[in-house]
């Protein structure tokens, strides 16, 4: 059997602090480059929420070497794919390019780590683009509910707000705010460069040293984090909005990725709501035999159900989503959900359920290993909240999870006082009225 994690990973640290994670893969003439920065919405405070995401947008707006538009053309004309994502703990820039154009991607990243212009006119244009992005999210009832649930779950910690930021801040953040955030966080010492694909290691190391080695050192500020106090009692909220479909989100405070409780809770998620995928590209599998699907969808209460447990630096949330059928109520769905959680807490989980979770994880890793892009993603992703060994050892550690660990995790986290329940109540107007 071919191991999905086969092949050595070269780890290096440049003098200026830039961490390198490199892996040769020669299955296709491609190179995938991911530059990760340790900055996300976790590093924001009220007044500048959404600024990390906005800075990410501005990184596409040009440097003296690559004026706005040129960057894009330079990558696209060779068939390269590039994108960027901002999360709660990180921001990442990715390129997958024909192997002989890899240097272009590295050049672009080295250039914009230091030289992005943040031209005032571009800042103002991007303000409306980002507000438009937020409005796109607002059109989705799931976003509206999730934003409120998260705000209710975190009163103190910056995980309180959505990555896109609050409208009030998007209207008032200045060019100076953005530039300062960029200069503080876009430093080699705050970044991990992961490259996988069709290259030779000595030449790749030489190129990276040439392009990134001369960038100034300096450390990003340590965020002054405010720890979220324990929640004392269940919190419930209701969001009203258009449509005919109700949603329920149940969010439990969950451990951080490095906690010994994280993997047992991942197995809880797998048993309750189906196997989750760690892949950015590579997909997942269905969850129709999960306990919640059986109880809620097969039980005729919901049209869909799913779970979400993110690997994060600080304790975040384990969320379960229920799309309620129009002929049933959120309360009925919630009652059935609680019965399943209670069953999980009271009755021993079966060994074959744990075995299934492990086999599913192994298959998902195999699917993710098909693509060089996803393998490059893996190299850097776990560095944002742990290190690469967290990822390399994931399957082995998962295999060591005992039934008792899973039960203990369920007992500890899946309690009412540790959760926020959000209900989206549709106010109707579901059927479009044609204005012919």
């Amino acid at each position: 059997m071919i191991s999905p994690l086969a092949g050595p990973v070269t780890r290096r640290r440049l003098r200026n602090g830039l961490e390198l994670r490199l892996k040769e893969i020669h299955t296709a003439p491609l190179v995938s480059i991911w530059l990760w920065y340790r900055v996300g919405s976790r590093n924001e405070r009220p007044g500048i929420t959404g600024i990390s995401h906005w800075v990410e947008h501005m990184q596409f707006k040009g440097t003296p070497q690559y004026p706005a538009g040129e960057l894009d053309r330079a990558i696209s004309r060779f068939g390269g794919y590039w994108n960027a994502h901002t999360g709660i703990d990180w921001t990442v820039y990715e390129h997958t390019l024909p192997a002989d154009r890899a240097e272009l991607g590295l050049q672009v990243e080295a250039d914009r780590m230091l030289h992005s212009l943040f031209a005032p006119r571009e800042v103002e244009r991007e303000r409306t683009v980002i507000i438009s992005e937020r409005e796109m999210h607002e059109n989705d009832p799931a976003f509206r509910l999730s934003e409120e649930v998260r705000a209710a779950a975190f009163r103190v910690h910056p995980y309180h707000h959505e990555v896109v930021g609050d409208l009030a801040d998007l209207q008032t953040i200045t060019r100076q705010d953005l530039y300062q955030h960029y200069r503080e966080h876009y430093l080699p010492a705050g970044a991990v460069l992961a490259v996988a694909g069709d290259f030779r290691m000595p030449a790749m190391l030489q190129t990276i040293r040439r392009l990134f080695g001369g960038l100034p050192s300096g450390r990003p500020p340590v965020p002054r984090l405010r720890t979220e106090p324990d929640q004392r009692g269940e919190r419930r909220l209701v969001v009203e909005g258009p449509g005919e479909t109700a949603f329920v989100e149940i969010a439990y405070h969950a451990p951080e990725a490095l906690s010994p409780d994280f993997l047992p809770l991942a197995v809880v998620d797998s048993v309750l709501a189906g196997a989750a995928s760690l892949n950015m590209y590579g997909g997942g599998i269905s969850n129709k035999t999960s306990r919640l699907y059986q109880a809620l969808v097969e039980g005729g209460l919901a049209a869909a159900v799913g779970g979400d447990l993110l690997a994060t630096i600080d304790p975040f949330l384990y969320s379960i989503w229920i799309t309620v059928r129009p002929d049933r109520t959120p309360e009925e769905a919630l009652e059935a959900f609680d019965r399943e959680v209670e069953r999980l807490r009271r009755e021993p989980i079966r060994a074959d359920e744990v075995a299934k979770a492990i086999k599913q994880a192994r298959a998902l890793f195999a699917y993710g290993s098909e693509s060089i892009t996803n393998q490059a993603f893996w190299l850097g992703f776990s560095e944002m909240f742990a290190d690469y060994t967290w990822f390399e050892s994931y399957l082995d550690r998962l295999a060591q999870v005992r039934v008792a660990d899973v039960e203990a995790a369920a007992q500890k986290y899946l309690v009412p006082s540790n959760r926020v329940i959000g209900i989206y109540r549709p106010t109707g107007n579901g059927k479009p009225q044609h204005a012919d």
Binding site: M1, D72, T128, S132, P242, S286, T289, K359
Partner: protein, 432 residues
């Protein structure tokens, strides 16, 4: 001037590496080996879609496809899913306007199980009443969400305007009313007349020797027969638009409006398709959404997304531009996009634009063909559109041969700025 990077075209799927065989019953198998990862993809299609249903039974093909997995003579719904989920595999079926498609994935060691399951659900479904009723309720919930989604509603408005008296005017997943009327007997009848081996194409790509894949497919699908299987009706001629038509569909409580505008485009069989596709790349796709993205997002800052797409497919799929904008900016964005379309059909693209589009198309091929999924999709395209087994090896030359005049001719033939269909949905005052 940029040039295409050197490509090892022989590394792309071609006659040397694609296995193609036809079973006695007409099932076509395409296989390609890839041992770089321990997984396998099983995907394919047959001709059974919304074209084979009446408007009153809208969503029948889609519902039937989904219901195939809800139970067979020998397996219950739970047994079906337990067998695939317990090994981390997946198998799903769905239907669009022309085709019923299936897609499965597993560790290579589990291909046999996946194929036996696919063969069983295609040949021996029972459409249990309780399961169908539950599925109908789930579909109706999904359609309720669709009818509240501004992009979907704008798309439906666009389709109604762009395709009068044509099956493309209707959503392939039906309406809440039509789906609510469907009964298990309707699904059984559809299965009887539409689902059979004729026209069925299967691709197997991954860490499985092609000979072994062929043997497993033959063993599980070789005996499949359906003497009642009917052909798909031919598409009617398009009725051209006489002028620009616009429909605004109000949805309450939305922050943003979605706009869809464009015209029916070329089918994938049309000789002008590649030129139109390269042109579309320039118009609203390459990089940050091409010219449209540049004007609407980069210069005017009016939208997070504004891009164009070309449907292709067996019929005249839409050549359309979509954008999400704040309600007060709808008219301005429509004007900006219309202006770009006018420019696009008036003047040839620049030599640089064409070169960039060509090198983009050629350079991204290795990325598209990197995964088992990507290769399987390419194999199905070859079969579906009679492209020949060496199509992807010849592709760089085909793309390089396109001239600026070809793009302009394709643009003029399919896009008419004076005869656009425009669908808009969101929260605003209604008008047409």
């Amino acid at each position: 001037m940029p040039t295409s990077p050197p490509l090892e075209v022989r590394s792309f799927p071609g006659p040397e590496t694609i296995h193609r065989s036809i079973l006695d019953n007409g099932v076509v198998l395409l296989a390609r080996e890839n041992f770089s990862s321990p997984s396998v993809v099983l995907t394919g299609y047959l001709e059974a879609g919304a074209l084979d249903e009446s408007p009153e039974q809208g969503g029948l093909a889609d519902l039937t496809a989904s219901a195939l997995m809800r139970g067979t003579h020998s397996r219950t719904f739970t047994q079906i899913y337990e067998s695939i989920e317990s090994i981390g595999a997946s198998l799903s079926l769905g239907s669009g306007t022309h085709f019923l498609s299936f897609r499965g994935r597993a560790l290579a060691e589990d291909l046999e199980l996946l194929l036996s399951l696919l063969a069983d659900v295609l040949q021996h479904p029972v459409f249990p009443r309780e399961q169908v009723e539950r599925l109908v309720a789930e579909k109706i919930t999904g359609l309720g969400l669709r009818d509240q989604d501004t992009a979907s509603v704008a798309q439906m408005a666009f389709d109604e305007l762009a395709y009068p008296d044509h099956p493309y005017r209707l959503p392939s997943d039906g309406t809440r009313e039509s789906v609510a009327r469907l009964m298990p007997a309707d699904l059984q009848a559809f299965h009887r007349r539409k689902i059979g081996p004729t026209g069925c194409v299967i691709a197997v790509v991954g860490a499985v020797p092609s000979a072994a894949a062929a043997e497993v497919v033959a063993r599980h699908l070789g005996d499949w027969r359906n003497p009642s299987q009917e052909h798909q009706p031919a598409l009617p001629e398009l009725v051209p638009l006489q002028g620009t038509v616009r429909r605004d569909v109000p949805l309450a409580g939305k922050s943003q409006c979605d706009i869809l505008l464009g015209c029916p485009g070329p089918s994938r069989f049309d000789p002008a398709y590649i030129a139109a596709s390269l042109g579309n790349n320039i118009l609203g796709s390459i990089g940050m959404m091409g010219r449209i993205g540049d004007v609407v997002r980069e210069q005017a800052g009016l939208a997070y997304y504004a891009s164009s797409s070309l449907g292709g497919g067996p019929g005249p799929g839409a050549w359309e531009v979509g954008a999400g904008v704040a309600p007060p900016n709808v008219d301005r964005v429509i004007e900006l996009i219309s202006r770009e379309i006018r420019r696009f059909v008036t003047k040839p693209v620049t030599p640089q634009e064409l070169r960039d589009s060509q090198t983009n198309y050629i350079g991204r091929l290795p990325l598209q063909l990197e995964t088992n999924d990507g290769v399987a999709g390419a194999l199905l395209n070859i079969e579906r559109y009679d492209l020949s087994l060496d199509f992807y090896q010849r592709y760089p030359d085909i793309v390089r041969a396109i001239r600026r005049d070809d793009l302009l001719a394709a643009a003029r033939r399919f896009l008419d700025p004076e005869r656009l269909a425009i669908g808009v949905s969101g929260t605003f005052g209604s008008r047409e």
